[in-house]
């Protein structure tokens, strides 16, 4: 059974239809990349998956882990194992990174009937993941994302992902605003999490990220529809020819 099954998904924001019939199947262990020009609906797709309220699904269905994702609240989807690495991580003043992340992990554990972790058990886990992303320990006690540089915010997203160990990782333009060194660190963190039980949907505008996180499948999203799907070589072709090249061809949405 596939982990994610998106069928004929239509979604709108403020009554503007952004997604116009997406079909996509993602199995455990696979990494799919969604590429596309600005305004094609990439972030909307990521947002719909994370159950953002401002996006209205008007048609279609999404099955996640055998359940109807569209019936879930954002926190339910998170507890079910869906993680969104934000394009613009949000600042939460006055709440430390460590406190926030432990609250998140415990909320998820609780929903699964697992015991909550106390600070003594949690901190070593968090420290380990922070080392992986080469983040200084001082970030433990800094308020969530407050005063972080763009690169630090993105690395912090991946730290959270590593701690929460989701089944599906949705990375929304994680490469934007990263210099090449930070990009390599982030990619290392993401790659360390690839395994046969976990799937990833990597949303990106540029092929650059895919040099470091090599996808199994690449889908090209244009004007709310997947117009082309292929292997990693498709990303290179896009880099060479630009998005306008795909628009000429009819859609072959399913892989």
């Amino acid at each position: 059974m596939s982990l994610v099954e998106i069928k004929n998904l239509h979604a709108s924001v403020n009554s503007n239809e952004i997604l116009k019939g997406i079909n996509l199947t993602v199995n455990a262990g696979e990494v799919h990349s969604i590429m596309g020009p600005n305004g094609s609906g990439k972030s909307t797709l990521a947002g719909v998956l994370a159950r953002r309220e401002s996006y209205t699904v008007t048609q279609g269905s999404i099955t996640f882990n055998g359940k109807d994702l569209l019936q879930m609240k954002p926190e339910d989807a998170a507890c079910e194992g869906l993680f969104l690495a934000f394009q613009y991580p949000v600042e939460i003043p006055g709440i430390s990174n460590a406190y926030f992340l432990r609250a998140a992990l415990n909320a998820i554990r609780k929903s699964r009937g697992q015991e909550e972790l106390d600070a003594m058990d949690f901190l070593p886990l968090l420290r380990e993941k922070m080392r992986l992303l080469e983040m200084d320990e001082k970030f433990l006690n800094r308020p969530v994302n407050e005063g972080f540089s763009g690169g630090e915010k993105k690395r912090n997203e991946i730290v959270q992902m590593a701690v929460l160990e989701p089944k599906l990782c949705v990375l929304d333009e994680t490469d934007s605003g990263l210099d090449i060194d930070a990009l390599k660190i982030v990619a290392k963190g993401v790659n360390a999490m690839r395994n046969k039980d976990r799937a990833m949907i990597v949303v990106t505008h540029y092929q650059r990220l895919l040099d470091y996180i090599v996808p199994d499948y690449v889908h090209v999203l244009v004007n709310g529809k997947i117009v082309k799907s292929g292997g990693p070589e498709l990303a290179l072709e896009l880099e060479e020819k630009g998005y306008s090249w795909t628009e000429a061809e009819p859609a072959g949405a399913r892989r």
């Binding site: 309220e53 926190e75 998170a78 969104l84 006055g94 992340l101 998140a104 909320a107 998820i108």
Partner: protein, 484 residues
């Protein structure tokens, strides 16, 4: 369910501590005149000087009342109060002095139990001495023995008048004279009881002193009077926390708190105020018109106010510091929350008189529902206050689109060496923030509580540990049902 709806739900939560205790009351008929003032004084078996002071206060108040001098400058609205329709004294009937808790009226003890006030062993373990004020008369005082070994006096105001008249006479009204304002004058005339603390020279009070106030008798304005004196080099931390039962009619509360810090002394005064705010339509609720002021009389003295105000229909309160001694320090840390139809006009005054005096103001206002939240602050640097410094930070957080946040900072500088900093911000609680936390598995309700607690962090960390925990819970409860 949208965020707005959920937060509305939180806001809709009923006041949790609405219940009424039946206790035989000894009360005066409604109305206020010189005879009533004399009667109050007589009931309390007060010495002559006290009666006279009350009468002077009453006469001043009476001129104020007839000239309609009740203050109207505050950004709050309420129907006129019929001062002659209130009863000015009520006390649980008790003939003899009590020596142990067993002698306390079981009904009263039950009320404490419902409120979760651990008057017995728990407090012993926690190291908190409690002077419980139940409808104006102290019914029990603990820890007195331990404190008195150190020469610390911690008792009800009535007891202080009887047993330490010299101290009362010396300090009463020296920080808040009865002519100060309409409500202070009223309080001075009819105050029922309150707390008195004196910490002698060089003594550091080893425990947090705590008093729980509770308004109980219907239609009885409660007029608390608190006086705290820290002598040279002394230190004391005082906690005040309150809850009150549900009532239909508005209840007037006009307290006066005076603090005096001598050379090198420190007074820390923390409040968690959770009086009945009225129902969802704004009916009922306490009118909380309080005058709180501290005087840093000696050099290097320090007075620090921390308040978490979540209750009352109307709050009118400006805990202030008169920085008279050189190098003295004044602090004001405040969280004020208004939900439904609550109104708060609160802030502080920092009056810099001595040299190198420093003041810090951190105010966090949260408005939800139809709540109106006003920060009103004054920083005044007098001519002789060379080297004075002030830092003010004033943040407002709005939840929903029917509430309001208002800021009125007044700054008056008469010495050019002064350094002033003022930061202010107003923000709406962000859908983005809530979604971010939800995406990590945290429920919407917890997300809102977390964001609010983060917003208030700089104030909460000034509170004693157990008070801080209580304050966080209180904010979550007060906001249940309101975010958008």
């Amino acid at each position: 369910m949208s965020t707005t709806d959920q937060i509305k739900d939180i806001a809709k939560q009923e006041y949790k501590w609405g219940f009424i205790t039946d206790v035989d009351e000894d009360r005066l008929p409604p109305g206020l005149n010189e005879d009533v003032v004399r009667a109050i004084s007589a009931k309390k078996e007060e010495p002559e000087f006290m009666t006279e002071w009350r009468l002077k206060s009453y006469r001043f108040w009476a001129t104020q009342e007839t000239s309609h001098a009740e203050p109207e400058w505050a950004n709050v609205k309420y129907p006129p109060i019929d001062y002659q329709g209130l009863s000015y004294y009520s006390a649980p009937k008790q003939k003899k002095q009590l020596s142990s808790l067993e002698e306390v009226d079981p009904e009263i003890l039950k009320t404490y139990a419902k409120l979760g006030i651990p008057l017995h062993e728990q407090k012993l373990l926690a190291g908190v001495a409690v002077d419980a004020v139940f409808d104006s008369v102290s019914v029990a005082t603990t820890f007195k023995a331990k404190l008195s070994e150190l020469g610390i006096i911690f008792c009800s105001f009535s007891e202080a008048v009887k047993n330490h008249p010299d101290l009362v006479k010396k300090y009463l009204g020296t920080v808040v004279p009865y002519t100060d304002n309409f409500f202070a004058a009223l309080n001075s005339a009819v105050f029922s009881d309150g707390s008195f603390v004196y910490v002698p020279k060089g003594v550091r009070c080893p425990m947090e002193l705590s008093t729980y106030f509770r308004i109980n008798a219907q239609n009885t304005g409660q007029f608390e009077r608190t006086l705290i004196i820290a002598d040279e080099g002394a230190y004391v931390s005082y906690l005040e926390g309150c809850t009150a039962p549900v009532r239909d009619e508005n209840q007037l509360h006009a307290a006066v708190v005076e603090l005096i810090a001598h050379d090198n002394a420190t007074i820390k005064y923390s409040t968690v105020q959770n009086w009945y705010p009225g129902d969802k339509e704004g009916k009922g609720g306490i009118y909380n018109f309080v005058t709180k002021r501290g005087k840093c009389l000696g050099k290097n003295s320090k007075i620090s106010w921390t308040q978490v105000e979540t209750g009352s229909a109307i709050t009118w309160k400006y805990p202030s510091c008169i920085l008279q001694g050189d190098n003295s320090v004044g602090e004001f840390y405040s969280v004020a929350l208004t939900n439904n139809y609550q109104q708060a006009d609160t802030g502080t005054k920092m009056i810099h008189i001595g040299k190198n005096t420093t003041s810090t103001i951190v105010s966090k206002g949260i408005s939800a529902g139809h709540g109106q939240n006003t920060y009103r602050g004054m920083v005044k640097i007098l001519k002789g206050a060379t080297g004075a410094r002030n830092y003010t930070q004033c943040d407002s957080l709005l939840i929903g689109d029917k509430c309001g946040a208002h800021t009125f900072p007044y700054i008056e500088v008469k010495n050019s060496t002064a350094r002033m900093e003022h930061e202010a911000s107003t923000s709406k609680i962000g859908e983005d923030q809530i979604f971010y936390l939800q995406q990590r598995g945290i429920s919407k309700e917890e997300a809102v509580a977390m964001i609010i607690n983060g917003f208030c962090k700089t104030v909460f960390r000034e509170l004693p540990m157990e008070f801080a925990v209580e304050a966080q819970k209180l904010l979550s409860i007060s906001l249940e049902g309101s975010v958008g």
